[in-house]
Amino acid sequence: MTDKLNISLQELTDIQRKAVDWNDEPLLVLAGPGSGKTRVLTTRIARILEQSPKKNFRILALTFTNRAVHEMKTRVANLVPGLEERAAIFTFHGFCTKILRQHGAHIGIKSNFEIYSRKADREALLEDVLKKEFKNMWPIDINLLKYIDSLKTKLIKPEEASIFLQENAGMDRQKSEHIGLVYQLYEEEMNKSNALDFNSLLYYTRQLMRRTELRGLYKTIYRYWCIDEFQDTNGTQYELLKQMAGNDFRRLFVVADDDQTIYEWNGAHVRRIKCLVNDFGCEVIQLTDNFRCPRSIVDAANRLMVYNVRRDKSKHPARATKVKSDDNNPAIQCLVHNCDEEEVSEIVNCLANLNPYERGKTAVLARTNALLGPIRKKLEEKKIPNSLMTRKDDFSSPQMRWIVACLKQINRPQNKRNLVKLNETFRSFTEVSVETEDIIMHAETELKDLLTVWIESILKDSLSCETKKVVDLLRKLNRDSFNPSREVKELIECLKPSEFKGDFKEDVSAWNRIVGEIQSAGKGVSLERFLQGMELRSKEPTPRQNSVSLGTIHSIKGMEFKRVYFIGLAQEICPSWHSVKNPNGGATIEEERRGCFVAITRASEQLVLSRAKKYNNWPKDPSQFLGEMGLYLASS
């Protein structure tokens, strides 16, 4: 056994060790915040690998963010160096991408499909379809995408859509048939473009997994399955899991915390954990020790969650393991401000008073991005480094968007829609552009690919020396010897990101992180595979050193900060206006409460709860959660 694994096993508590050593039967580990669930999961993976040195089966681990994937991969590699290749750690979407690439041919999917992760790309495609098909008969309504997504999540095929909408959504015939037709045309166009959107990844994987032999193959290759953050699983993901497991698969190891179910709007559901226990006959282990938060935070969190009446009654309260905190420096502080502007400026003042190192360990959290905007603005004014933790579907700078468009064009030489984008992004930073219609015509008559013709005609323009150099470098990129850390890097450097503050520089930092993540799965990745990987990843920049993290409750899952400022703790802000007005029998409030729970349990030393008496000039009461946590009196 490796020393590191040995030490890691020794350091586990008895109950953690029980989970790590669990046999081949289904197990649900209910793990509260800071209870060491990632550690349990990775140590278990390492333990199984270590105990089967001559075997070749793999362990499948599914999670929800690429950040978690990266973290788990690193930990496993660290515990059992050389065996990490047998740990197949993916996001759900990443796993579906892999399955479709390898076996999609059975249902007509080419292995080099492109992923459309950006809403804008899908909207543009839909708009094209609608224009072509309906001209002026129907208004162009790109909101139809929502229907398409929802139908696809339910595995409804285009030809079944109309009936389904009539029967289940009470829609009239004309509209439902229109939606069915649009859905069909959209799918056909996606097909023609050899592209899949996020929902399609799951949709087609489920379709593919109807094949008994393929399910058998995956059960053979991946002998153990681990699911992280199971409470975030939506219906489609869970159905896929059940479908793949069939009636006979037992070696399932699931880590979840029902109290952290905050993605109900995305189809997650607290009840799903109960379904899992029933469907698979899982044993349950509860990890109740909280190693992260000071006792007072753990107590507040326990008090808060008692108000969630739908919560499983058998759930034990969390137990703080940290030694008693310093009474002169209480772990929880409550701030009250007269108005939201004051809240912003005082919080920013607090941050300004921290030394840079401490700032790097501090986060400002809020219910919505809207509350964080003014904080960010103020921080920028005071030149305090900060990073917004949010999923970014696309790069922000035209330079980086142009480079990506170029790579896509090389991958799909005949993609006209992409050429338009390539041309537009190029114009926005060089003020040089050509008529794409002309390019398309020339390419067709001269039997050349679009990018070659575009380059030729751009070079006819009077270009600055630097721009010319950039275009010349673009010509060196080619599909067969694609290497993101060679030619593309050269191209980026030629655009001189260091001379741009803001967007471009941040994009390059994100680009470098993404390249690193993709390459960690194996060097020599092909262009199409690279683009697939990039589409699946968020384009947020790597946080700068010593910068304050700003995040919404939903964007900081699984993270930990020494000091947390949780702002906007006022009624109708957190919990949200919507949840207060439409309690839905209390269910929406309960999800809000879980959000609050997630936010406060990020803090490992200090938690500052802040509220203003007025937001946008509307007086607001203190958040009911303050009272529930037993903190209202302290704050008033």
Binding site: E85, H103, L217, A521
Partner: protein, 609 residues
């Protein structure tokens, strides 16, 4: 097997590149197929190598294999209806690379539509794949100094490294060697002088500290000891033991092959997997060996574990190779062609059930899987028509009819196991060289054989020079089998038979093999007047023949009437033929004017395809 420059080594190289990677072999611009002399290799389609590995029957591959190949494995229909087989398809594409200005290989695994799976962790996928099919290459010029080197040999070095010496024995041995070393150095004063002189090296090169220099005669450590391991041979009990490198070339060459065997037996499983199948690419195993050794070598090579791909042009070597295992490689009309004698023929057809009952009632002639139809023999007209009739209504009839037609055409070249077995026993064991011929001339007996040779010599068309083999069919099987073999292997052939009952039967038998009448008429001819001897007499060679018999000691031969002459010739076939052959060589006029069936055939051979 095949003649020089037909492309045998290229095939071994292709295997080495696909399975062995960059270290295996390389293709460069000289290996690229060019259509004409103006073609530029840079503009070519490059080289494409595909290796298909698949299960023979469902469930053949273990979980170990499936698990290891998990990222590249595919499922294809096969076996019983509704079941499937695992397969892994690997493609290597050599293309011109503008940046490096050379041909660069790229490896790719493929999906069921032969589309690239585009990367993944290619390096580790390749490594996993190759660990089940490790390739080993032994070149024609096997140099024992390299192959048995403890420094450079991939087999010998690895074997030696794996040897275990118990620590007790090791330290004991080292103690003894230390003492021995000192004694040996002390035995001659000049050792000391040498040390002192060489010591200056140290003085020049070291700076701050004093270095030292010593001589070592005995081994210094275990590896030093083991790496000196040498093979000694004693051919006969009275002669001295000699190291392998002092043995004859043949022994040396042979020993390398057995070294490979030792390697496979002892280390393969340890280095790879239980199920690994070594692929041995062996070039010219016959090098430096005498005929009997070559012939026995096949059995040794055949008994090696794994898949053997052997390039040879030794007629002796192939004398014991089962005919179905032979791949005949020739360069025909600007193209390398490969022929073989497959036991069955398969076409891919869409999945439908209408053929099932025909297959069931075909008495083993047909078999099918979802997506394929296989015929294990000659697809007869009746079965063929039944299949045609039962093409499903939903199917593309034209496409299926074409495919069935192709299947019928291919299967008409089928040669049955019994017949091949007879050929193996009668012809192949003595006449391995027939497979290297460019053209065949089939004749009946040995006298035809001898006289045909003489005529070709007299006509200035030397059979050996032009790669023509004359096969005296009666002694080696029967003419129809050889005609079928020639057809299957696409070896151009002609036949000359006696104009008698037997000769006509031969032609009939050839026709019965499904060779079209027109082709039979074109390729086969009979002597004009009766059998060979009757023809000779008819052509006015009576006098010469009588003299020959006379010289052979037959009294009265000069007085024989024609009937007596023919009787006697029939009894002395070989003897008279030999004498007559000499006579023909001395008088080319005979070759030009008499026995015209041979003359015509030989002339026709010259531009036969």
């Amino acid at each position: 097997m095949g003649p020089n420059n037909a492309g045998k080594t290229a095939i071994l190289d292709a295997l080495r590149i696909a399975l062995g990677g960059r270290g295996g072999a390389v293709f460069n611009e000289y290996d690229i197929h060019l259509h004409n002399e103006n073609d530029n290799p840079k503009d070519s389609e490059g080289v494409c190598i595909e290796i298909i590995s698949k299960e023979k029957m469902p469930g053949e591959w273990s979980e170990e294999i499936i698990g290891t190949l998990g990222d590249t494995i595919q499922q294809i229909p096969g076996g019983e209806r509704g079941s499937f087989l695992y397969s892994v398809n690997l493609r290597v594409q050599y293309n011109w690379n503008e940046n490096s200005e050379s041909f660069e290989p790229s490896w790719d695994f493929l999906d069921i539509n032969n589309e690239s799976l585009s990367g993944g962790n290619l390096r580790s996928n390749l490594e996993n794949y190759r660990s089940f099919l490790p390739i080993f290459y032994l070149e024609a010029l096997r140099d024992v100094r390299n192959e048995f080197s403890s420094r450079s040999s991939k087999f010998w070095k690895r074997l030696l490294k794996d040897m275990n010496i118990p620590p007790d024995l090791e330290s004991e041995a080292m103690k003894i060697f230390g003492a021995l070393n000192n004694k040996l150095l002390a035995a001659d004063d000049r050792f000391g002088d040498i040390v002192n002189t060489l010591d200056n090296t140290i003085k020049v090169t070291t700076r701050d500290t004093d270095g030292s220099l010593d001589l070592r005669i005995a081994p210094m450590n275990t590896w030093d000891l083991i790496s000196r391991t040498e093979i000694l041979l004693q051919n006969e009990s009275e002669v001295p033991w000699l190291p392998l490198r002092r043995q004859g070339q043949g022994i040396q060459s042979l020993s390398v092959i057995f070294l490979f065997q030792a390697f496979v037996n002892h280390l393969l499983r340890e280095l790879y997997h239980e199920e690994s199948v070594p692929v041995l690419a062996l070039e010219e195993p016959e090098t430096h060996l005498h005929p009997h050794a070559i012939r026995t070598l096949f059995h040794h090579v055949n008994s090696l574990r794994g898949l053997k791909v052997i390039a040879t042009h030794s007629a002796y070597f192939i004398q014991h190779v089962p005919l179905r295992d032979i791949r005949l490689i020739r360069f025909i009309d600007g193209e390398t062609k490969i022929h073989s004698l497959p036991p069955n023929y398969t076409v891919e057809i869409p999945e439908f059930g209408e053929f099932d009952s025909i297959v069931e009632n075909s008495d083993g002639l047909l078999s099918n899987t979802p997506g394929t139809l296989t015929v294990h023999g000659n697809l007869d007209d009746q079965t063929y028509r039944k299949l045609q009739k039962n093409i499903g209504i939903d199917q593309d009839r034209t496409d299926l009819e074409t495919k069935l037609g192709e299947l019928k055409e291919k299967s008409s070249k089928h040669i049955k196991d019994e017949e091949l077995y007879k050929l193996e026993t009668m012809a192949q064991r003595t006449r391995g060289e027939i497979f290297f011929a460019n053209r065949w001339l089939l004749v009946e007996g040995q006298s035809d054989y001898i006289i045909a040779h003489a005529i070709s010599y007299a006509l200035n068309y030397d059979f050996d020079r032009y790669g023509v083999t004359v096969i005296d069919c009666k002694n080696n099987g029967n003419p129809a089998t050889f005609a079928a073999l020639a057809r299957a292997l696409e070896i151009p052939w002609l036949a000359v038979f006696d104009n008698d009952e037997a000769g006509k039967k031969y032609i009939q038998a050839i026709e019965n093999r499904g060779i079209p009448n027109e082709e039979v008429n074109n390729r086969c001819c009979l002597h004009n007047s009766g059998d060979l001897e009757q023809q000779l007499v008819h052509d006015g060679l009576g006098l010469e023949l009588r003299n020959i018999l006379n010289n052979l000691g037959i009294t009265n031969a000069t007085n024989f009437d024609d009937e007596g002459l023919l009787d006697c010739l029939a009894k002395k076939k070989m003897d008279y033929a030999r004498e007559l052959a000499t006579h023909i060589k001395d008088n080319p006029q005979i070759a030009r004017e008499k026995i015209t069936a041979f003359k015509t055939a030989i002339e026709k051979l010259q531009d036969l395809s």
